[in-house]
């Protein structure tokens, strides 16, 4: 049940965020679906007691795959689906916690969140890179006679 609410929540949140990022109206549901898939994988990972960083990596991979697929199907740039869709995974709360604990004078917690946030941001970027590369390779193979 938590999983279901989480997935619905990430759909709503990503669709809302897509509006704030000025995504063209007709692609709002698609961005929401990409986000919901990402939220699903992430929550599944957390429930399966995976590390947060690993769960983020898998979720980012799923989102990048969905975005690339959507981009091919609907003939739109990948960024449209990717930037909003990646949101449930992205370490926004972590960024806040780093600075919050610095202000609260708790350097142990702030450095914990600093390292975790950098790791998550790193693996997300890595996941996006991996998918970009995979899709480029695939296209080149098809173009060969």
């Amino acid at each position: 049940m938590t999983l279901f609410f989480g997935v619905v929540g990430s759909f709503v949140a990503v669709a809302g965020f897509a509006i704030l990022l000025e995504t063209p109206g007709k692609y709002l549901p698609h961005a929401g679906i990409a986000g919901a898939i990402g939220g699903f994988v992430y929550l599944l990972g957390i429930e399966g007691e995976l590390n947060v960083v690993l769960a983020s990596f898998l979720s980012a991979l799923a989102i990048a795959l969905t975005s690339h697929t959507f981009a091919r199907i609907f003939k739109a740039p990948v960024t449209i689906f990717l930037i909003a869709g990646i949101l449930p995974t992205v370490p926004g709360a972590g960024m806040y916690q780093i600075v919050y604990y610095i202000i609260a004078n708790d350097s142990a917690k702030s450095s914990y969140y600093l390292i975790q946030t950098l790791e998550i941001a790193g693996v997300i970027a890595l996941a996006i890179f991996i998918m970009d590369t995979l899709f480029k390779v695939r296209i080149k193979k098809i173009e060969k006679p």
Binding site: I19, P24, G39, Y96, T117
Partner: protein
């Protein structure tokens, strides 16, 4: 070939993309493709997060170099998509340089009405609450706090308050409202409500783009983006801290945590 027109078009396309939050290498790529249609011998486009330098040179003329400083930056996926489309059509030879330039000039900013943005600002916190482990009551509370947040952001933008201060004020409003709700309904989990409600403000996309730029070898843009992300996070955390300290002094008798 009208080198000046191609140059102006490339710089305009680059500026639009950079202002809309496109990655540095994507901007360089688009500018390079446009500039190459001039068939000049040397073509260079160097984009940093805060400005653009582009040059075009041929043996039969003086080289043209343009520097463009880009001040404001936000995220506007619609603009990126439109610029992309125009530049692709132009490079494929489907539209003339004049047409492409006019089309680029016509690209506007906002595409939705103000209340749609406000609705979105309510949707984001409500949607994030279950992801952070909140139940039905937390979702409702986050939506209420999101409403206050939307109100503060709309009024602040109308008064043209500077970005850093507006982020601080917004998150202060979030913390105060959340603590107030917690006093009314003691069963709420305050942390979940606050973290979900600041999600429209925190620089999650910014830090990820910073790492993407850095991995791509654009170290200056990557570094600048990291700095921007931390500044934004500082504004938000400062606001929440101040809000908690304020309300804490009223209800619990002081203390940040």
């Amino acid at each position: 070939m009208d080198y000046k027109l191609v140059m102006n078009m490339a710089v305009m396309a680059g500026e639009l993309m950079l202002r809309s939050g496109a990655e540095t290498h994507r901007v360089e790529d688009t500018m390079y493709h446009i500039l190459r249609t001039a068939n000049a011998e040397t073509v260079e486009a160097s984009v940093m997060m805060t400005g653009i330098v582009a040059t075009i040179g041929n043996p039969d003329m003086e080289p043209i170099t343009v520097i463009k400083r880009v001040q404001e930056r936000g995220t506007n996926l619609n603009r990126i998509m439109l610029v992309n489309e125009i530049s692709r059509n132009y490079c494929a030879g489907e539209i003339s340089p004049e047409e492409a330039y006019e089309e680029l000039k016509g690209i506007g900013g906002k595409q939705y009405h103000v209340w749609v943005y406000n609705l979105a600002t309510v949707m984001v916190p409500a949607g994030f609450a279950p992801l952070f482990g909140g139940g039905g009551m937390e979702v409702l509370a986050a939506a209420v706090v999101g409403l206050i947040l939307a109100l503060i952001i709309t009024v602040g933008k109308r008064l043209q308050i500077n970005g850093f201060i507006l982020d601080t004020l917004s998150s202060l409003g979030v913390a105060v409202t959340a603590t107030f709700l917690k006093q009314l309904f003691p069963f709420l989990d305050n942390d979940i409500v606050i973290i979900s409600s600041i999600m429209p403000l925190v620089p999650g996309v910014a830090i990820t783009n910073a790492v993407r730029d850095t991995l791509h070898g654009d170290y200056i843009s990557g570094g600048a983006r990291i700095l921007e992300a931390f500044l934004k996070a500082a504004a938000v955390a400062l606001g929440v801290g101040a809000g908690m300290a304020l309300t804490g002094a009223f209800y619990i008798g002081g203390g940040l945590l």
